[in-house]
Amino acid sequence: MAEKPQTSANFSSVPVILLLSLFSLPLLVMYAYLFIDTISDTEVGSLIPSEFTLRHWSFLWETKTGKPNIWLVTLNTFIFASCITGVILTVASMAGYVLSRLNVPARGFFLAGVMVLHAFPSVTLIIAIFIVLQWIGLYNSLIGVILVKAAIDLPLGIWLMKGFYDTVPWEIEMAGTVDGASRFTVWRRLVLPQIKPAMMALGLFSFLTGWSEFILPQVLAPGAKVQVLSVYLASLIIDDNNFDFGTFKAVGVFYVVPVLILYVFFQKHLMNIYGGGTKG
């Protein structure tokens, strides 16, 4: 129940805001310069930009030598993040239901297993995964890295979904079955809609972690055809021969814009995450 701060606060909020602004000022300035630097040139040692230029954004319309086309990379990143989201949502929504509601054999074992897998640092597996992917021929392919990333993120998703299913009242399912619906229909038509806000949130989080994933694509799919934005960005820093800080920053801004857009459009759903479910 959000109250207006003016009416509920029994202290002045001005000093607090001032203090917070002061502390976050360095970050704000950095962000401002991140953007300003991409559209201007600055004399060495100076803080004031000296001229406006779109030079740093040229990567959008011309492909640099030795680098893949930016639009191909962006498309790859989209495919990568979307597929991960799809796989995680599909598997987690079903597996979470099974673990929450159905009397499957070794349920306790699976629950504990999911928990352990979630706590397991995935980086330690990367060599083994690399060998396995190479062995089955999925090294340097999007499918391979999608499967790996989805598998690593799944335990958390399943656990989250199980938690949300646990809050859906049993009576709804009982009512569904006596109304004549099969267990699948009950899940699909009655239970799943109750956890829609959770699905939205999980989908969004999966997309964002997919979008920002670096290590896995870097190791498992570094090839030019399957490169994603994070790998592309990293390759700009590593490139010592023609290092261009302005371009690096521009690519960074380009990389972060879709994330911001997603947040703007879906923040309502994210806020909803605890407001959903059933009442009374």
């Binding site: 009242p169 009512a175 569904g176 006596v178 004549g180 809609p193 009442k279 009374g280």
Partner: protein, 351 residues
């Protein structure tokens, strides 16, 4: 359709909830399952609708054995205590859901929903969601959803528990009206004796997984088989006097009251027995005068309720038409109608 539970038992793991229950509900009859919390009423109901599988025993609808039939194939309508409406659907979709899963044509569903909604008087609420309804309206929606499939059996699990007193009264007659109009066999679970007595043809009183007595409301009230049944029915409740049998009479205390009672002939002297006296059988009329002191007086509008302490410390309750001449602390000499009193053995059996 007749419902028969034959040697029905149910246990959860090692806890036995119900053992060898025999219960028959006649076709078109409405039966109340009445009992204290935790006695296994809901468990019985869930077994009838197929949510719980019986541990052993059979369940028959008519002559058909449905023991191993999943609930989808039993054609029962259930109203859950919490109503269990589907929160994301409108009232119309809620009521139509049982038909939708049967793949009835959309136009047909619409028509049948409209019919049943008129029957339970919610025709103007079809576009709303459950969260936008009052408790009584939700209750009607749940009822409509249970009835729309024309079930063989209607099961109601404390359907009135969440309603206020006035609405409860209204819905009581409403449910009874619908049950009679549709001629459906119904089981009503409740722990409210007034509800059970006013709505049902017969009452089955349960205590820790067993049916203690099954009879019509008036039979049950006038001829309880055990002290548990007697104490469960009646409001204000019956009061008990503890005493012993002596030469065919009930004796209270050392040199106190002597009540000659026919039920006590043939009982050996000195046997501990208790006497159950309903509040309406202790008052200004009746056979045997008893002295006591009023320790509690309460007016209920039309009637007054008094608690009277007898010299030995036991308490008798009395309900009488409103009068102003008796106050708390007064000594009174009222009469007990010994013919209407019940005598129970120490283990609660009626003598």
């Amino acid at each position: 359709m007749r419902i028969l539970l034959d040697k029905f038992s149910k246990s959860f793991g090692s806890t036995k909830v119900i053992e060898d229950m025999e219960l028959e509900v006649g076709s078109g009859e409405m039966l109340a399952l009445l009992g204290p919390s935790g006695c296994g009423k809901s468990t019985t109901l869930f077994a009838v609708c197929g949510i719980h599988r019986p541990t052993s025993g059979r369940i028959l609808f008519g002559d058909r054995d449905v023991t191993n039939l999943p609930s989808q194939e039993r054609n029962v309508g259930v109203v859950f205590q919490s109503y269990a409406l589907y929160p994301h659907m409108t009232v119309e979709e809620n009521i139509g859901f049982p038909l939708m899963v049967k793949r009835v044509a959309a136009a047909d569903i619409k028509k049948q929903v409209a019919d049943i909604a008129a029957l339970v008087h919610i025709a103007d609420l079809l576009g709303r969601r459950p969260a936008q309804l009052s408790g009584g309206q939700q209750q009607r929606v749940a009822l409509a959803r249970a009835l729309i499939r024309r079930p063989d059996v209607l099961l109601l699990d404390e359907p009135l528990a969440n309603l206020d007193a006035k609405l409860r009264l209204e819905m009581r007659s409403e449910i009874r009206r619908l049950q009679k109009e549709t001629g459906i066999t119904a089981i009503l679970v409740t722990h409210d004796q007034v509800e059970a007595m006013s709505m049902c043809d017969r009452i089955a009183i349960m205590k820790s997984g067993e049916i203690v007595q099954i009879a019509t409301p008036s039979q049950m009230y006038n001829d309880p088989r055990t002290s548990f049944v007697a104490s469960f029915l009646g409001n204000p409740p019956i009061s008990f006097l503890k005493g012993r049998a002596e030469q065919g009479a009930f004796v209270l205390g050392e040199n106190g009251l002597r009540l000659p009672l026919s039920a006590l002939s043939g009982i050996p002297d000195g046997t501990s027995v208790s006497l159950g006296v309903r509040p309406e059988h202790f008052g200004t009329t009746g056979g045997i005068p008893i002295d006591g002191k009023v320790v509690f007086a309460e007016t209920q509008g039309r009637e007054n309720l008094y608690d009277v302490v007898l010299p030995d410390g036991s308490v008798l309750r009395s309900i009488q038409p409103v009068r102003d001449d008796v106050k708390m602390g007064d000594s009174v000499r009222w009469n007990l109608d010994s013919a209407s009193a019940f005598v129970f053995a120490e283990d609660g059996r009626r003598l």
